[in-house]
Symmetry: C2
Subunit: 287 residues, 2 copies
């Protein structure tokens, strides 16, 4: 298992972690000043500054991507909605390629309208079927663009409104069905926040193997957790066994970044530099 | 599948649903007035009025139990703590027998101290091993008392602080290990709130079969859900496919109660009679 204590070479900052503090270009500058070599930006943050400008800034600073967030949200109530989602995913693949990302992260979506509190129906099996078809269609485009798709299983508490793929096993079943040859073009973004509780996690990480393990996201599970989306903890402040899970990932062949992704009203209120410094410190001490 | 629209014979009220409104004897009276034939009381509610008095009131009213809540919380930091948990579970088995319950529901526990926000450690595998041993020890006593134990898998969002058994599959693996003969003395309390999201649910309900399906708890998953514990919805107000899940249960042989268990700050603020009337109405129309 890699020793992270001596430097922060494998640290990546998912830029949602500091999305309330500054626009993306300033986040990249602040990362560059701290020798943070990788980020994983969100599309809305990229669009707000401009794709070309961010691409140029990345070249200038030498910062690379550990992932691009995000494609997905495939389910819809009609054909037009399904087609619009595929179009949007095609654009996401292209943006990811423009920025040189190693993968496009997929938050697959769930019941249409649920995120806005107005679910169009309750049929999660239908949503799951639409997700399967959506990933299949997007994978064709991703193969052409040589942009791996990383399905992110989301915590079951988000199954209705954000992603109806909720375990590593379920995600790997999709991967095996659509990419039986393990081409490297379809795999998993493993976010410890979503999967730490899973009694089958060790076995499924081993099953995934090197070709399917495309990203590792870290943060922590707080006690108590006060909000289903925006109360994630800084690594070390909760109960997730970060080293154990990273150990399983590395044993299975993962050698990529540890990407810090913290959605937290608390951390969004702190200064950008303070949050980044804490990410570095905790990466070295507890990840 | 049974038709629930014509009467409420199979309705049970888990008395936590109205725990803030009245003591248990008044809850039982209010149920009796509405021809609600079953309840599932919590130990603290029984103790507050007195076990003998509640037993007598049940005989007088003809109300029976669909379950008794709860045993469990097996993990501890030392031998004394583990032994104390087993003692408490023995008492719970005896109380359940005194009240003529068809089963004792087990909320198995998780990281010691986590519920109070001070987890003694982060080792969920250790907690799971202690849960396994605790169920095994309690099962010996339960067999003597002829009191079936119903393991309740809790939602993964409660894995750290309330129950580290989080899927039907995991619970059934424990059942199969400890009771390979399917004696009827060890099974599952299936609460839709905790398991609706599970992509393997239909298969695991079928695997459970009649001998293992000891209880069905109903409520609903709200969008948005604003609290991890106390924001459950009244049946019909959320996105759980209640009829579909009940259909799977009945296809597997379940013929018992549909027990309404709603932890909700909203419903706890409404008058006792109004909540019970709504439970009857929704039981008949959407469960």
């Amino acid at each position: 298992m890699r020793d992270f204590s001596g430097n922060h070479e494998a640290l990546s900052i998912n830029t949602a972690t500091v999305r309330k503090q500054a626009p993306l270009d300033q986040i990249i500058e602040a990362c560059a000043r701290r020798d943070i070599g990788m980020i994983s930006p969100w599309r809305d943050q990229v669009h707000a500054v401009g794709l070309a400008r961010i691409a140029a800034q990345l070249r200038d600073t030498g910062i690379t991507l550990s992932g691009y967030c995000r494609g997905g949200f495939f389910p819809a109530i009609d054909k037009a909605g399904l087609a619009a989602a595929l179009d949007d995913n095609r654009r996401a693949v292209e943006e990811a390629a423009t920025l040189g990302s190693p993968c496009l992260v997929l938050v697959v979506g769930a019941l249409p309208g649920a995120r806005e509190g107005r679910p169009a129906h309750k049929d999660i099996e239908l949503a799951r079927a639409q997700v399967f078809d959506g990933i299949a269609a997007t994978l064709d485009h991703a193969r052409e663009a040589r942009m791996p798709l990383a399905i992110e299983p989301l915590h079951p508490m988000l199954a209705a409104d954000r992603a109806c793929v909720n375990t590593m096993e379920q995600a790997l079943d999709i991967c095996d069905a659509l990419d039986p040859g393990r081409s490297g073009m379809l795999g998993i973004a493993a976010d410890v926040y979503h999967i730490w509780w899973d009694p089958k996690l060790a076995a499924q990480v081993a099953r995934a193997g090197r070709e399917r393990l495309l990203a590792l996201h870290v943060c922590d599970w707080l006690l108590p957790t006060r909000h289903l989306v925006n109360d994630r903890g800084m690594m070390g402040d909760g109960i997730i066994e970060l080293r154990k899970i990273r150990g399983w990932m590395e044993e299975a062949g993962y050698a990529g970044a540890a990407e810090v992704e913290i959605f937290s009203d608390d951390w969004w209120r702190r200064p950008l530099g303070e949050v980044l410094d804490m990410c570095i410190e905790r990466y070295r001490s507890v990840v």
